[in-house]
Symmetry: C2
Subunit: 697 residues, 2 copies
Amino acid sequence: MNEHVFQVVSLLISLVAFAFAGWLFLWVKKQPSSNKKIAKAGLLIQQGARTFLRREYGVLAKFAGVAAFLILVFLPSPIWNGSFVENIVMAVAYIFGTVFSAISGKIGIEIATIANAKSAEAAQKGIKPSFMAGFRGGAVMGMAVVGSSLLGVSLLMLLTDDPTALLGFSFGASSLALFAKAGGGIFTKTADISADLTGKVELGIPEDDPRNPAVIADNVGDNVGDVAGMGADLFDSNVASMAAAIVMAVPLDLALGGTMNLNMVFAYAALGLLASIIGVATARIGKNGSPTKALNSSTYVTTGVYVVLTAAATFIFNFEWRIWGACIVGLLVGVIIGIVTDYFTDDSKKPVHFVAHASKSGPAFTILSGISYGLLSVLPAMVGIAVSALAAYKLCEPINPEFALQYSLFGISMAAVGMLSIVGMIVSNDAYGPIVDNARGLAEMGNLGEKVLAITDELDSAGNTVKAVTKGFAISAAGLTVIALLGAFISEVNTAAAELGVEGLTGFDIMNPMVFFGLLIGAAIPAVFSAMLMLGVDRNAQRMVAEIHRQFKEIVGLREGKEGVEPEYDKCIEIATSGAIKELIPAGLLAICATLLVGFIGGVQAIGGFLTGNIVSGLLFALFMSNSGGLWDNSKKYVESGHEGGRGSDAHKAAVVGDTVGDPFKDTAGPSINTQITVVSLVSSLMAVIFLTYSIF
Amino acid sequence: MNEHVFQVVSLLISLVAFAFAGWLFLWVKKQPSSNKKIAKAGLLIQQGARTFLRREYGVLAKFAGVAAFLILVFLPSPIWNGSFVENIVMAVAYIFGTVFSAISGKIGIEIATIANAKSAEAAQKGIKPSFMAGFRGGAVMGMAVVGSSLLGVSLLMLLTDDPTALLGFSFGASSLALFAKAGGGIFTKTADISADLTGKVELGIPEDDPRNPAVIADNVGDNVGDVAGMGADLFDSNVASMAAAIVMAVPLDLALGGTMNLNMVFAYAALGLLASIIGVATARIGKNGSPTKALNSSTYVTTGVYVVLTAAATFIFNFEWRIWGACIVGLLVGVIIGIVTDYFTDDSKKPVHFVAHASKSGPAFTILSGISYGLLSVLPAMVGIAVSALAAYKLCEPINPEFALQYSLFGISMAAVGMLSIVGMIVSNDAYGPIVDNARGLAEMGNLGEKVLAITDELDSAGNTVKAVTKGFAISAAGLTVIALLGAFISEVNTAAAELGVEGLTGFDIMNPMVFFGLLIGAAIPAVFSAMLMLGVDRNAQRMVAEIHRQFKEIVGLREGKEGVEPEYDKCIEIATSGAIKELIPAGLLAICATLLVGFIGGVQAIGGFLTGNIVSGLLFALFMSNSGGLWDNSKKYVESGHEGGRGSDAHKAAVVGDTVGDPFKDTAGPSINTQITVVSLVSSLMAVIFLTYSIF
């Protein structure tokens, strides 16, 4: 069999995903819509989201230009060492990575800002059509993300056969994810907090009231944060997991002859995409069925189909069953972590009830109990990641005693590939959330009545539940991927060391003071990074609140809701956009500069410690913040649904404080840490040769 | 020179500390007191504190009995292997450790509950005598802590010459610290929160109002948490740092001949005690001087004296200058970390102003900004610890190329000894805080008037500022000590491995899946441990609030403050005490059981990862929580002093929420993590042989 056949088939399957996405897109587009108010608000949201993306991609283009130039000069090794071709390939791969991710983000935003209005109007006919509009809208994004990541990786391997170039591609995806996730996270929470503070708190007008100048920015924020941001994040993790696996597979295949390991990576990744297509295509909701159940069951279908398909492929192509085992362990642990995470944020479980009850004693107790449960929630995920990494390692270690270390690290990377195999489904479910959240807002703005609002509320609540699960999944997947990247880093260093004729790496000894030095500094970075983002939200929200106050003061008749008087929505979008980019850059630079500093001081050993500390502390803070935030959000909703005094009670006021604290926790800082970890890992892998050559110690 | 002469001299110097403590005790006791109300309230506090200690030591005695029995049977190796004598020595050393620490805690509590009343009454004559009563009261505790730790260590070495027995002694100290620090922390915050919630919030009566049934428990709490708890914590760190250094010095001395390394440990530790005595003895405050300045300058005097004394000793006894360098690096970094920590909690600096200003937008912003600055504050300390460990390692590595690893790890342990050398001064400053805090309460209960209250307020505020510094210092010292304990663990494993004829350890490779497995689990423990303690405070406070409500309902005339009607203070103390012990035990067991589980599953490699993850994550959470808590406390005080709207404003209400959240952060969870880390490290070192022999993998 030709050595590239698996890559060609993967490429073709990625095109199937695009075709399916196109069909879904057209299906959503042809759903009926007639309400003028909804159409107008929907258009404003769409324009706002486009404004943000244009501005963000504009800044990103400059950043990527500088980065591509630096890559051209320095990576994988300085150009004066004669590595012209490699450097050009790397720079082009980097740009490809940003562009592919940007395009899938753009597709996701376009469909999400169409599907929201469709879902709102469909709700007039019942929960089923409304759910389908939201779900299929989200699925377009899901298919675009996995399709373009598999397309990019297989295309690049077909063209270059150079796994290191994949790291460049992956770094491009990470750069974009940093902007999309952290920038989008700052945008969305700036708008959300400002809208709540001025609207609900100061003026006492309802959420999504069209008089509020921040209301469109708030709806835009849901899309840029959760659709484009989460999509870019999982695009990034997905590409990184494949890149790490391929970086380790190629030297193994070279040493052993054949292309089996490489083929396995492509086969398992492509089958994950197929399984996701089947899962999305079969998703159904009964006439009065539960949307949460429908979302979850489509995930389980995808998982089941994947296990069967990969087992068949392993049998047919005579793949190594141990590696299949590692892959399945990763997948199952990912699903289990998602389910356990759900416990901490589900409104029928103890933590939500406890926090709601504690709120009766005042906001301090809402905060303390939410933080406590958030801290408790890290244990199952940490144990899960630890167990899956250990199991994958131990499964694959005996495959070939001569390459025990290589195979065991490859096993971990395949566990990450397995965990991310159902990412198409996960992104679909995740993008569903903001679409139906927007639909709820549009239904309110379009005066569609209480009955329709009840339906959109139910869809929205399902979106929130599923979001907690997908976030737990995304963080764990990033964690396992970055452990795999640690293996890729060693592989890169050793390849370079062999060429330079210096000593390579077999690992990182904690008792080596350089490793320990890196470890402590790497561990501090996620804490500082997330603090900078949260302070950024704070500063940005202050600017926007000032703007809202100005509008209410200067625009006559706005406060009273006089017919024909409208706020200047675009000013708020402008503030959220420019502020997000301004606040994001120092945090991103901190992470990258710390990596360079540690690498130039302590070399590859210090970087090994740095990455380890960064992963461990990043996982802790990301899980803690995401879960506490989700818990507070649902506790507030639980109180609002009539418990512990219901709306307007003291418990409700306290629960709102918890929710406000939780917003930047779960939508800005927590999930951005993922991306920070991946960026730092990829910078390290790309700089491997430089650190090996130019470090002080 | 006889090999034990340094140990004998150390023992004598520890006796000097006791003599000096005795003199200070008598000085404080003979200060005048005449106010009957103060005497009565002071007596209640004293009795309450005694009740707590009696109950706590009672439970501890049972716990220690069980632990001593287990040690007798299993440690350092199972008794059926014929190690009768070693096991008996170890069990006795363990009991010694608990008893020595308990006695110094008892001394500290006794003097603190005398000095508070003396300081209150002395404030009528001015700030100078009031300060001196508070400071010298605290110094009794400081001298008792360092005196008894040095006495214990030198006595044990003189009697047994067995460094492993010192680990048993150290484990005894840790067990006590776990009870004193975590139990005391739960006690103090239960009482504080309940008193504030029912008194200030519900009834609108001032803090320290004698009608409040929780007021005495609150004052008792300051003593058991900050005097006995912090004392036990630093006793623990101090002993552990000496034990780690000695465990590494003895095999080095054996291999190289002579006792120089061991002598250095005793010399530097004993000189630290001398320097602290000089620092305490020369502490003075001008007639209208600043108490903060007086406290800080005594710390600087101690530091300076220590540098001079140790340099002289190194010159006279021809010690290794590189080791002296490591010791001084540790000390200076400790002082610098303290100063930097101060920035984040000082009410003249930006963070406090920022949080106070953010409070104007509501409690959610108080919380978000406080958490953000708390997360930022971890960076300088982490970098400081990383740099000092690296510097100590690199300084000492070249001493003897044949023993490069041993000397570099010994260097780190000497940096920890250096950092802890001024611990006498640190404990003195720390114990000063609750004494003058109590004095403020007593002055209020005794109706001593506004002028006196102003003086006690100033002394109290200095106590708070210094407390933030000493906490940063204590956490860093624990961090460096535990890194040293990691070295001690390797040393123990290797000694055992040599006897068993199996392979020893040279380090822990992060790419070893067992190490990584341990790392992830170890990192999760501090998060879960602190969450359990905070939930414990929450549950316990609910019990106490219910009791306070009962008293106000059932005791006629209490609410109105009728003459002769008194609340049942002892009921509240009883609830705080029994609840603290009940809530502490599961958290302590979790940490110990997780260690055993990981050790029995993955053996010494997994434990290496476990300890590393535990240290790194423990440092992060301890620093974050302590600093956020201190920041909120001072922001509230800053608002109360008239900024951002002052008392009663919305900003003040928000700042109070921050302070309430911060209380268990800074006084329960944050500093208890220290102790958790040390306990886990010592359990690991003691179980080294068992893990080496009986692990599954």
